[in-house]
Every structure is written in C-alpha cells, then in structure tokens.
Symmetry: none
Subunit: 194 residues, 4 copies
DNA sequence: CATGAATGAGCGTTCATTCAT
DNA sequence: AATGAATGAACGCTCATTCAT
C-alpha cells in the first residue's frame, strides 16, 4: 500500500530538501525565502509546514542528508583494503572536481558558517564529521603506518576543504596543476615511511 | 594638536567597525542587527549612519580592513630575501594559531560566504586576494625555483584556510602535530627540487 | 460562478484604496501611515503588499481611480449635443455641491500638491487632465462658437477648482448665491456672442 | 544700539523663514528637512531652535508672513476710491502672472493642504483670509453696488486661486487669452448693473 | 493532502529635536 | 549666539509562519 522510504523525486520531503539546497546555494540560509523554496519544490509555502516544522528544520535535515551522501562516497574506500592511498590518488582528479563545484563548495561554506552561530547545527555537524573521519581513519589504517595518522588526515581534509574556498576566491584555479601537486602532498602525508 | 588619522579606539568609525566585527562573528552578516552593533559601539543606531551609509557599507569596509591587515602580515616576507621558506616554517606555529582563532576563522567564513551571493563583495575580495597572492608569489620567487609556483602557493593557501574550517568542525585539533606535519608539506611544496 | 471584476466593497484592492483615500484626506499622503490604512481596510499591514507594491503605488492608483470617476461624470455631457451649456447650468448646483464636499476638495488638493514634487504624479495627472479637457472641449464645440474656447474652458475649470479651495478657507460659503452668480459667469464665458 | 524690527536679510529669523519657504516649495511641508532649511539659511540645525520652537512653528510663522505680504498688496486698493474695479482690471495681467508663478502657487497649495489636517493652521488662515476679504469688500463697496458683493468676491477669489492650480495641471496656460477673458468676467461680476 | 491569503513582529533607516561644548 | 554630534521613536516594508477552506 505505502512505500517505506520513497526517496525518489516524487517524495515531497525530498523535493523540498532539493529545492532548499538550491535556494540556499543561491541566497544563503538566511537570504533564501520560504516562497522561493516552495516555488522550486512546486508546492505551496503553507504545505511545506506539513512536512517540516520550520526553516531551521529544513536546514538541519538538509545538512544531515549532505553528510549521508558523503558517507556513501567514503564507503568506497572500505573495499580498497591495503590500496586506500592508491585509490585516493586515482580519484584525486574527481575529488578536486567535486570540491571545486561551486554548488557544493558554496553549500559547504554555508553549513560551516551556520555552525558558528547555531549550536544545534554545530553539535550535529561535529558529530557527523567525527563519524566520517573515524571511518576514513579506520580504512587508512590498513595502508598507512604512521601513528599520527589522525592529524595527517586532518591536514588532508583541511586541504581538500580549503580548495573549495580557493575556488570561490579564485575561479581560475589551475585544477590540473593542483591535482599533480596534491599527489605529492598525499605521498608525503601517507607514504613517507613506506 | 590633532591627529590626522585617529585609528584608535576613540575613532567612532573604528568603534563601529570593531562592534560590527563582533556582531558579525556572533550572528553572521545577516543575523547581526544594527541595534546590536550600535549597543556594542556605544552609539545610537541613528548615529551610525553619520559615519556609514548602510549596513552593506560597514560590511564592505570591514572586509577591506581585514585584507589590509593581512597585507601587513604578508609584507614581513618581503624582507626575508632568499630565506622566505625558512621564515614560513619558523612562523608556522603562529600561522596555525592565527588560522584557528575562532574569531578570525568565523569572520573569514562569513566573508567568503557573502562573496558567493554579493557580486560586489566577490569582486572586491577576489581583487584583494589576487593582490595578496601576487605579493607572496614575488617574495617566494627569490627562494623557490619551480615554474608551477603559483599553483603550489594555491595549494598552500588552501591548506591554511582549510585549517580554519577544520578548527570549526573539530575544535580539538592537535595543533602541534599538525604544525609538524605542515612542515613536511611545505618542504614538499617549495623545496622538492632544491 | 465568479465575477470578472468585483469592484465591490469586498474586493480587497478596492478596500485598500478606499481606506487609503480616507487616510490621505485625514492626514495627507505623507502623514498617512500604512498601519492606519491597514486598520481602516481591516487588513494587516503586511497583507496590503499582496495587492500593492508600495504606498507610492497606492497613491498613484488612487489618483487614477479619481480621474476615472471624473471621466464618467464628464461623459454625461457627450449626450447633450447642442445643449451642453444649458446642461452645465442645470447641473451647476450639483457641481458646486461636489466641489465643496470637504472630502473631495481635500483629496484634490493633496493630489495637486503631490504633483508639485513627484514628477511621476505630475506627468500622470497632466495627461489625465488634458484628456478630460479635450473631451469637454469637443462636447462644448457643438454649442459654443468662440475660437478661444480652450482658454474659456480653462477659466471655467479654474473657477470650479478654486471653489474647492474657497470652501476650505471659508466653510460658510453661501453656495446658493455663488451658484446664481456662476450662471452669469457661464453665460459670459460661453454665450457672449450667441 | 539694537534695531526694533530688523526684517532685513541679516535677521536670522527672517533668514530661516525664507529658507523654509524655499524648502517647502521644493519638498512640501513634510518632505522638507530641517537640515535642508538649515543649509539654505546658513545656520546649524541646532541653532534654528534658538529662534523657533519647532518645525510646526516655522510653518505657522511662514504662513502668517505670507498673509502679511498679501495684506500689503491688497492695501493698494484702499487708495483707489471709486475706481477699484478699474484698478483690478488694470492689474489683471500682473495678478495672473503672480498666481501662475510656480513658487507662489505651490506654496499656496501647501498652505491650504496643511489647513485641512492641522486645526491650528486652519483657524489661523481662516481668520487671515476673512480679514483680507473684509478689507477688499470694504474697498469694493466704493465702486460696486450689488448687495451680494461678498459672494461675488468669493467667486472672483476662487477664480484667481483656481488659476494657480490650473497652472500646475497645465503649465502651457495661455495667460494672455485668459487675462482677456477674465476682464469680461470681472465686468460681469462687479459691473453688470452699473 | 493542499492552497495561498493573511498575520504581525521585527528589520534597516530617517530625521526632528536635544545636548555638550 | 552657535555648532554639529548624538539621540531614539517611528516609519515603510519583509517574510516565516498560521489559518480558513
């Protein structure tokens, strides 16, 4: 009779979240208007409140969905066994492309900025970030021997997230050159002793 | 008799800018209220408009001042001659401390996020960022021989700005360990062929 | 079933225009507050903006409606054929009553005063006034032979609008006596040579 | 040592009143800003309050001064004895010119409009208008025999003030033609039986 | 499940007036 | 007599949210 988790394009909640995402990227969490989200979701403003308690809640769920997606991306590395770092390097070009997609980098920025003022969001993304990092750390352990691996991962993640910011400040980033240089950095971060 | 440029704590424009900075960090550009800024600046809301045309202008001037300060920081490297990279490494611990100061990293985040929706701000900070990068590139040229120096600098700057984001997502960052690892990264970025 | 143009008391736009009219007469265009208009229209201030872009627009539409009404009044003279001047004289008492209604004379004053500082309003009411005058002139042509008819009409209109002002400066105007005297003036304006 | 009534250009009160007049014509009573008046009067905003209690008071005094001037104009007719109407006709062209001066017609409009909402102003200008009218009536009595003279004067004054409005609604008024036609009207108003 | 009309608190900003000098 | 910096109440307008249907 009824689907359990209809996370398709027809699921109205999903439609709102996607619409909100778009609006947030275009105007920021505070600049985005419920009316704008409603229009994009092809739903009346009033009806959104049938699915979400408030704009705040939409923001919160959207952020969660964002991390859920990242979790899936990260799970690929679980299969890599002892070849995680190789896989990282192989995927570098795609990773840089993802980080420099204005849509995602803007969203990431918006999320982190929101965390600096909304304690609930801060707690939530810190937990999710820790979870993500713990996963990656455990996968990397198969391949990497340094005992300061966690800090090394922090450096690597900082670098990748920083690239998102750089792309905003300098949209003419030479991504190919950067990918090449990043390979060296990864080597030094995770292979020095190998 | 009378100071020409009283950029002291008594200069009312400066007082407003400092107050705005605080309010922006606490609530974001859009969340900050003029009344809040006025209270913090010990000035009536109306009087702020004696010194600034609009909230928008306060944001713009605050951003400019922020970059002006960075320019001064960067100028230290001008004197370093052929020992720029050494100086970078020597200063690493201070640089990391600066990047992980929640006040400044939050402000930076706010600024970059604003750039993604306010074209005037985008143009302004891109110009200022380019200027800053050009300066550093020219100082590095004395010490670094790689022809892809610009991209290497981009990677380095991404890393440093990314650390600001990391500190928000993980306030328990092991700064000492990261400083140590960053030394290796700097070596590989700017010394590999030397 | 649904009405096409419900210009009744239930049409919310009409309700706002009527409320605005009242408020403008009581306090002037600038003195009238949106809250006052909203209260009078039994509508929240915010909701007014569902129907009108701005207070300015309400003023503009109210002025237009005012002229539209005048156009209807004037059209009666179209049917009069060669007996326009007779009709004018027959209607004189009503015309004087209309011009001395404090509500309408105050509104007219407000409109003309607004025209002296708002160029958009000036253009608008000049066009509408010219249209009105052209109509009356063409109707009068059937009955009146003077070639300076336009100037004669200007004199007549000045007189009628001036009565509105007089009524404000002297609310005890002897309207009957004036109507009698006005008959002579009309005769001399439009009948002298007849 | 000190002049009794220094109504010269140096009298600061006079300077403020002249400045206010200008500002009121340009922007209306409510649109005119104290700062604008102060600038025009070459005086600081604060200092204006040394001479006037409030903007309201400036408006009130300015209106009074305006009528005082009119009183002087009207007094010319006192000397005319039995030739008042002749004098009126002789002066017609000047009178029309005065009424169509945008400065004065705008000011008159502003004053009458203010009277419709400010009861103090209403009382004041009604008294002054009555005084003026009584004077002119008494002078006309020497020349005019009709017993409805007061109403005839009302009609005449309505006509002249109406011309001010017409000039705003139609700045291309043919003043010469109108002057000619007005002569006929004056004749019929004040000479019919003579 | 769905609409969109309706609300009203709260914003950035203005400006008559006051105050310290 | 004179300044102009400073105040703060009040405005037009916006928009997240609610309500009648």
């Amino acid at each position: 009779m009824s689907e359990a988790l209809p996370k398709t394009a027809d699921d109205p909640r999903e439609r709102v979240l996607r619409a909100a995402e778009k609006a947030f990227v275009a105007s920021g969490f505070h600049g985005a208007r419920m009316a704008q989200i409603a229009r994009e979701a092809k739903m009346s403003p009033g009806h959104i409140y049938h699915y979400f308690e408030s704009k705040e809640q939409i923001i919160a769920e959207m952020i969660e969905a964002h991390f859920e997606e990242k979790k899936i991306t990260v799970e690929k590395y679980r299969e890599a066994g002892e070849r995680v770092v190789d896989m990282m390097i192989d995927n570098l070009s795609d990773s840089v492309a993802a980080k420099t997609d204005p849509f995602w980098s803007t969203l990431m920025l918006e999320i982190v900025a929101e965390a600096t003022r909304n304690p609930a969001v801060a707690t939530s993304i810190r937990n999710m970030d820790a979870d993500l990092k713990a996963r990656v750390t455990s996968y990397l352990r198969n391949d990497v021997k340094q005992d300061d691996l966690e800090s090394r991962l922090e450096v690597f993640v900082a670098l990748m997230q920083g690239i998102g910011i750089r792309n905003i400040l300098n949209p003419n980033l030479d991504k190919e050159a950067m990918t090449r240089i990043l390979q060296d950095v990864i080597e030094v971060l995770f292979r020095r002793d190998a």
